[in-house]
Structures are given as C-alpha cells and as structure tokens.
Amino acid sequence: MDFTTWLRTWLARHPLKGPAGIDRARYTAEVMGQVKTGLRPALLPARHWLPVPRWGLAAAVAAAGLVVAIGAVNVQRRQLAEQAMERTRLLAESAPTEERWLDQTLDLIDQLNEGGAEADSDDASEGLSDDDWLNELELLDQAELSASS
C-alpha cells in the first residue's frame, strides 16, 4: 500500500472531531445578535468608502501645499517691498553730490573762521559774508586750475 492510499484510508477511519459542547441554536442566536446590531448589507457596498478618504486626503494635501506656496510668495513679496522701501528711504535721505560738496566746504570755512579769529583779528577776510567767501574760494580754485594747466 502506498502512502497516499494509506493516508486516505486512515482519514476515512479517523474523521475530524466534531464540534463539542456547542449549542447550534445559541450559536445562531449569537451571530444574529451581532448581525442585527450592525448595518444592513446593502448599505455596505464593496469598499466604496475607500475613494472618499483617498480623494479627501489628496485634496487636503493639495490645499496645504497651496497655502504653503502662497505664504512663501507673500513673504518673498513683503521682503522685496521692504527692500524697495529701504532703498527709497536711503535715496531720499541721501543729499545730492553738489549739496554735500557745499556742506563740506562750509564746514571747512567754519573751522577756518574759528582758528583765524584767534590768530589774527586784523585779517583781510574780516567782515566778509559767506557768499563772498564762496566767491573768493571759487576764484582761487579757478586761479589754481589755470596756473596748474
């Protein structure tokens, strides 16, 4: 006798043990008790719930990405605007070159006046106004320029 034949014969003589101590009516009642507490089968179609959270999740991710992108653009725009305003402020506060040259010249004149008043009270420049001084300085510059050339 080969093994397969012996096995089949053995299994036929030694059946599977039956359910021991299980009340059939109670078994059915327990199943039906759970069935009736649940939803009706018609209301539970095959995995139709799956696409809902999947689309919902995708939409939420897209919305979050959009919010982040918009936020980043806004921050960048605000920074650019702040930089432009700062540049405008600096430009507005900075004096033109000619005015700066004039201010520096007047400062020098003031310094000379302070030193000169103590050194020589009979200086020829005594009694000259600022405008006269400026004219003289320009004439001196022009004289030096023509002499050097």
Binding site: R13, K17, P19
Partner: protein, 198 residues
Amino acid sequence: MSGRDAQAIQAVLQGDVDRFAELVDRYQDHALRVAFSFLGNHEDAKDVSQEAFIHAYRSLGQFRGGAKFSTWLYRIVVNLCKDACKRRARRPLVVAGVGGTDAVSDEDIGLFVEVEDPAADPARQASRRELSRRLTDAIGALPMNQRSAFLLHHVHGLPLDEVAAIMQCRVGTVKSHVFRATQHLRVALDPWLMQEGI
C-alpha cells in the same frame, strides 16, 4: 448556488435580516469543522466561524452568486483562520496541548477521532494514538497554502476545483500543494509508518 441559498440572500438584501439565520443554521457545522481543522480548538473555531458569518453578512451585497455560498463562506473562514494563525504564530493551535503551556483537555489534543481496536494490544493502541497526534503535528507544521489545500481536499473531502475557488488559485496549483503536503507528511511520519508496515 442552491435555490434556497439564493432566496435567503435575496431576502436579506431586501431587508429581511432574519432570513440570514437560515444560512447560519445550514452552514454552521461546516464552518466550524473547517475552522477547527485549522485552529485545533473548538472555542477558537466557534469564534472564528461566527466572525466569518458576520463578515459574510456585511459583505453580502458583494456576493454575485457566481460560486456557491458555501464556497464563498469557506473562503472567508480560511482567510480568518490564516489571520488567527499569524496572530498566534508563537503557539500554533493546531498542535494545541503538544508541548504547549495552555491547559488543554484530552478532547482537544489532536484533530482526529481516535478509534479504539479492542483486539489490539495496549502497546499497539498507544502507538496508533501517537500516530494520530503526530499527524496533527505534521499538518500544523505545513506551510499555510499546503495545509489549506490538504485539509480542504483530503480532510473535508472538497473537490479540487472547489478548493481552488476557495484558495483563489488554479486547480494545478492546488494539486501541487496537495502533493507537496503529502510528501512532507510522509517524511514526518516515517518512523510510525514503519511500525504500521507502510
């Protein structure tokens, strides 16, 4: 699918939930036996088979009637048994009581009814009981696909095409699983087979 099953399913789907009890009554013994053959314990088999009926009820809208209701139900039972075996992998219940720590009654040891032969001497009877337990052990040690194919075909007597429908594979694959399972069992039982003169 039988006409009675189809009528009951149609009624349930139309709202007559109580008609589902007909299906539970009709198939509970089969479902219990299939679950017991995988789990080796009647209490666990009862829980899993009841869970299978509840799954079947909740998914009844998906049942198209292409196969028998019993085939569809057994597929659910087998899948739940596989899940249960995975969860309890550290203490396989098919071999409950053999080297385990759980308190298991003698009735729960082994899957098969032990047939006493009054003519056989006590040593021979003890050897046959041991063979029965070793067979239970060896079936429990089979890979899950081989175990499923072997139990459904050889122990429950289901035809190969129905086993294939339950396991959702081809008939040829089922044949292969059954063949390999038989080879494994032969190797595992070799010492006892020699005593039996096989």
